[in-house]
Assembly symmetry: C2
Homo-oligomer: 264 residues x 2
């Protein structure tokens, strides 16, 4: 199911219609085109594609944005332009203001992860209800913009060095949304098997048995009381190694070669 | 406790000695100085400060790195330079290779979040055991570097657009480590109270009672059967608003003013 969704996504480059929408990303008075493009790229990395711009300083469209967006040009092409924050959020129901500074006003503050869960709970397929406001690079959001928001989004970073650039702030917010229910994650830890299939337990045991006999003959296993501990340790190493069939063949070859033979 | 730790961090700019270490970030043959600097900045944003460089293309030190590192210059100054990946990881115990591509070799693949938990479980205060390898911007890690790693770190992104720039890949890995046990997060959702204290329930009820009387007198509450429902809805709005004492004073003023009076 998840893999099928990933394949659809891969082919079209667009969000599958049955997927929950990511937040609308609203850049308020962004200054540098390069940063707008990098935001578009970071958004699309995470499957977020709705970009709104409030009064971009250098006008719109902006060639510099296209360069840094890399392959995310269609996010820029579909961006909507507004002259005020109020117009940009008029159709939305829940707005986060992204800010690192305290504003001296009463407002709930969400971590990136809590905001992501809130967005997941409100946005559904085809229903864009949530947006995140990001301020200009140099100054951040004005208090008037923060006052308009439902809540504050605060990325809990090193308090001695918390200044993120604009695209990095957008990336962390969008990635948190993706990570909150990631259809592209195969699971916490998966095993890439490569060209050779994993060895079976019997493959590994066969190797261990041949090695045991060889080590007995060579005199390495020369302590009747401790031989079984030595072999247990060797088996522990061999069995936890996630060895492929190729790895086991290679080990057979190594042991035989070290014995000066051509085969066991 | 957590606030005290944050304060210490804020003053010194250095990792408190009782905090678990973040991963060593190992940039293998990085190309552009600008990107090295942006990696240093992203690391320090997340409280990660150990940077190792393997054969940086343009030599070291690099002035362009200093510019983009912004305030993270000391991460660059303390960076260690190696001529090979093997030397750079010699003292470490567990290495992740960060890569977006499949490599056709048998290896466990960790998501960003699972890798963060693994690093938390191995690194302890003062004990640097884990590192993450990042390859050159244009090509990523070579298979020889991936083969040297204990496991692969894969950021599960939009499969149709998964190319992250170097500093963004470093940022997501470091942020995941920080987020796995964040001493700087006050909690999922907190309330910034601002300059005015939160209103008490009695403050709000007093307002509701006065408003109820005024609305009865004005004829707004003119349906004996439904007045209680109307007032319940008004109370619901007032009580869920997280109002401050200042907000309540302002509402008193608004209502009195609309009644053409100077006080209730």
């Amino acid at each position: 199911m998840k893999n099928a969704m990933a394949e659809t996504y891969k082919k079209t480059g667009d969000l599958p219609a049955n997927m929950s929408l990511g937040p609308a990303i609203i850049l308020v008075r962004p200054q540098m085109g390069e940063n707008i493009g990098m935001c578009a790229r970071a958004m699309l990395n995470c499957g977020v594609s709705e970009l709104r711009l409030v009064a971009p300083r250098d006008g719109w469209p902006n060639e510099r944005a296209v360069v840094t967006a890399a392959g995310a040009a269609h996010v820029l092409e579909n961006a909507r332009i507004f002259s005020s924050t109020a117009e940009a959020v008029a159709d939305l129901e829940y707005i986060f203001a992204s800010t690192a500074r305290e504003r001296g006003m009463s407002k709930e503050i969400y971590t990136t992860e809590a905001a992501a869960r809130k967005i997941r709970s409100l946005n559904t397929p085809g229903q864009q209800k949530c947006g995140i406001l990001f301020g200009p690079e140099r100054t951040g959001l004005e208090n008037e913009d923060v006052a308009r928001a439902s809540a504050v989004l605060h990325v809990p970073l090193n308090p001695g060095f918390s200044s993120l650039n604009l695209a990095q702030a957008v990336l962390l917010s969008c990635y948190a949304w993706l990570a909150a229910d990631n259809p592209f994650s195969a699971g916490d830890v998966t095993l890439e098997t490569g060209v050779s299939e994993p060895a079976t337990q019997q493959d590994i045991e066969n190797l261990a048995l041949r090695l045991e006999k060889a080590l007995f003959d060579s005199g390495f296993l020369n302590n009747a009381e401790k031989n079984h501990i030595t072999m247990r340790n060797i088996r522990n190493f061999l069995f936890r190694s996630n060895a492929t069939q190729q790895d086991i063949q290679t080990l057979h070859g190594i042991f035989v070669s070290l014995m000066g033979k051509k085969s066991w």
